[in-house]
Symmetry: C2
Subunit: 503 residues, 2 copies
């Protein structure tokens, strides 16, 4: 029946503009009041290798995938947020006592294993409520040849670092399974075995290395990271395959610079709600709408309430000559169409600042603009092995890929450490590095130098506050602490960022 209504999204070329727009508009009305429920926040806190998930309904996290994706979008979007919240909390700050408070006593992590690299580190996904919204629908991330940023932005709150020690913070993306997907009849289905994963580049936060005090001062934002589908990318962006699922991982390494960084001292974490499918065009319209509603750069696509006529139609200029007049003549259409809103746009929010790079907005939903600079570090590194992930990790995407268990041995040649909070680093966990492509460092564009933040030896006011936490539930991790063990091998410079490669 409605199987034919929108066959994937590629009906675009046939189901033309207006129909599609109306459809999205209808759905948007439903989405809107959902988006208003912004203030109730879940909190997922990690202490050492422990995972603390607060306010998330356990059942929801474990079971919903298939059913949620199959149910018509509208019916399901109205309920989950409220019901998911066990602890309303209603604190002004997401994580009270986390940033800048002095008076909360440290509490020893409830579960320590000798393998922990740094058991005192506690992290939190800053904007996890927004991530959760996307995750519920099945997050998609656009990848382009020139590189596209992620949205929502990957932002981490850190605690428990040594304020005076220096750390390097990085993110990489690992395949979730070994399947290729397609979006069929409004759901993601497996279509085959995955393409080979390109050498997994690392995105090193531009401030790295910086002191623990620096990293804990405010959340650490990775908004400048870009994803590309260009296997030959020379800009240091992270290379992904379209229609494949990925999981961002966050690494904390205490090191004074890249060369002294020891791969076996990685503290690695991941958040389920940040998993996504890489796409070259959005498939799920609800995802599109969620992006439009929350990404400030996409404001131009929001219906601002009323009276505002839609944005001009435009015509790709690829038509080879005839009728190109439409493009060049369409200028007079824009009369007083500008500056309609202006005032009400970017005010009101000035709470959580984030460590990174002045420049661009990098705001998720309600996030303040703040000031900071960043530096380039596209550079050489290497030979990092990916770790194996268990199947069906993302509870909200169907674990329908059958390829992983059988065929993944060459990609995931080692015992699972995923969902395992501390892998015995000195024991049997072993990641042969020979057959794996070297991991390249991913930095922005053309920089050559690494960036090292001086620690200044300042005792900042951000004094390692620890709040008391509920006992951990290893069964419902939103954040996973992963131990790299010997997964990462020698450091070998690669050609990325060498002089002359970029201009």
């Amino acid at each position: 029946m409605d199987v034919q209504v929108i066959r994937g999204m590629y009906g675009i070329n046939r189901i033309k503009g207006e129909d599609y727009k109306l459809k999205r508009k209808r759905e948007k009305l439903k989405l809107l009041d959902h988006n208003e429920n912004e203030k109730e926040k879940k909190e997922n806190i990690v202490v050492g290798n422990k995972i603390e998930s607060r306010g998330v309904d356990e059942k929801l996290l474990k079971s919903p995938p298939k059913s949620m994706l199959k149910t018509p979008p509208k019916s399901m979007l109205k309920t989950p947020p409220k019901s998911m919240l066990k602890t309303p909390k209603s604190q002004g700050q997401q994580y009270p006592g986390f940033m800048g408070s002095h008076d909360v006593k440290p509490r020893p992590p409830p579960h320590q294993t000798p393998q922990d690299k740094d058991k005192n580190i506690r992290i939190k996904l800053e904007n996890n409520d927004l991530w959760q919204k996307f995750h519920t629908l099945g997050t998609e991330m656009i990848i382009t040849k020139t590189g596209r940023r992620m949205f929502p932005i990957f932002k981490i709150l850190l605690e428990g670092l040594d304020p005076h020690a220096k750390y390097i913070l990085l993110v990489d993306l690992v395949p979730i399974d070994d399947c290729r997907y397609k979006y069929h009849n409004s759901e993601w289905v497996v279509t085959g075995k995955a393409e080979p994963h390109m050498p997994g580049r690392l995105y090193i936060h531009p401030d790295s290395p910086a002191s623990g005090a620096h990293w804990m001062k405010q959340s650490v934002s990775f908004h400048k990271m870009k994803l590309t589908n260009n296997n030959l990318d020379q800009n240091g962006h992270i290379i992904l395959n379209s229609m494949h699922k990925y999981q961002p991982r966050f690494h904390v390494v205490q090191a004074n610079d890249i060369f002294t960084m020891r791969w076996n001292s990685f503290n690695t974490y991941s958040f389920e709600e940040t998993s996504f499918i890489a796409v070259t065009a959005y498939q799920n319209e609800q995802i599109t709408q969620l992006k439009i509603d929350n990404n400030p750069f996409a404001k131009g696509f929001r219906d601002n309430g009323m009276g505002r006529r839609d944005r001009l139609p435009h015509f790709g200029k690829r038509m080879i000559g005839l009728e190109s007049s439409i493009t060049s003549d369409s200028e007079e259409d824009k009369e007083g169409d500008k500056k309609r809103v202006r005032a009400s746009v970017s005010a009101s929010e000035s709470s959580s600042a984030s460590i990174e790079t002045k420049d661009k907005p990098h705001t998720d939903t309600p996030t303040s603009t703040y000031k900071e600079l960043s530096r380039p570090i596209s550079n050489s590194l290497s030979a990092l092995n990916r770790m194996r992930n268990q199947t069906s990790r993302n509870p909200l995407l169907p674990p329908s890929c059958q390829y992983f268990p059988q065929s993944s041995s060459s990609y995931f040649p080692s015992p699972d450490v995923y969902y395992q909070h501390a892998a015995p680093s000195g024991t049997s966990v072993n990641y042969p590095t020979s057959s794996l492509p070297a991991c390249q460092l991913s930095g922005q564009s053309s920089a050559v130098s690494s960036s090292i933040s001086g620690s200044f030896g300042l005792t900042t006011s951000t004094a390692l506050a620890h709040t008391t936490l509920p006992p951990s539930h290893t069964s419902l991790p939103s954040c996973n602490y992963m131990q790299a063990g010997q997964a990462y091998s020698a450091i070998t410079p690669n050609v990325m960022g060498m002089p002359g490669h970029f201009q």
Copy 2:
């Protein structure tokens, strides 16, 4: 007679818009063909403590000040550039063999003194031809409460660094004399003694510390530095007094980080043509026009040839209620006024890249856009004493200030080192630090950490090429090598950039 035509510039409030515009337009026609003479470049190269000035007419540098500022602008602008050029050179690159060439043998600097901190360092002001144009007219720099960038941009080419050592690069601004000026009858005249100079902040290049290879890879741009007249500035901008003259100084310090930076190992240079008067509004219209013609951000004020009507008049919204309708109604004025030029704007130039911060254009005249990131470093440092400058240093601004010699003792408590290429660092050069305000570190906005560029140990292709140079002329220095001696005292952190000071 024409004394009254434009009394300074503050006739603006009386000699209203149109008259002023017409006047500027007339002058612009004269200025235009002057601006076309872009390709003939002078070269000022510094080797160790030696200054090499090529292609600059000696007389012109020594004498012109008063007379040039008094002559009507038009008559003088057409001649100087051509006549100043002794060595047309006409090389594609400003400094052949400087960037990225391997085959030029190092030549020992012709004059070495034991006091040299690093006699191998050679620097060059990249865009000195543009600076010279401004300097000829008497450069003005706008300062505002929120901070304003400099234009032209201070850009330095470096040579002779140890590729593997780390260096910190900084800029500060020192008062040229102890006078306050005003612009009267189209010339700058002294009106009194200078205001006290605020604690002289340092602008540390965001890439600092970085390897010598990094700094030599391309020119080092300080375009992000901002000037302010707000004595209470909390953003780390450099604080200046309006209507006072300043001289930028460039410092190279070999150090792994800010704390190991030794103040007595500064290699300090300055270029006469970069001196300027700080103003809150432009006084000399020729300066205004030169800025408009060369600063890409001011393109909106250029006459693009023909047919284009002037930009809309606008009305400051400070009027307290009545008639504010003009502002909000003026939207329909803008019809098809957009995207007139579009294509011809930013193409064509892709020669000299510059080390700094992707983000914004930071192009002077013909400079390529390039890619690089930067990082924030507003931070603490301090207790740096300014060095004394000789009077009447800027040959193109009248040395009419009488205050300097008598009253400057507290500001310039030490023997001159300016115009002196190497001060005897271990000898009698002594800069008492007690009575002087601490020098604060100037960084962009809110950052807390210092930034350290890893050296990577890479031997880059920028292999310290030295070209053969004519013998130095200490009598006509465009660049001055300054030895700090013991001018810089202990490093004491200040409050700038401490957590909580900025949000």
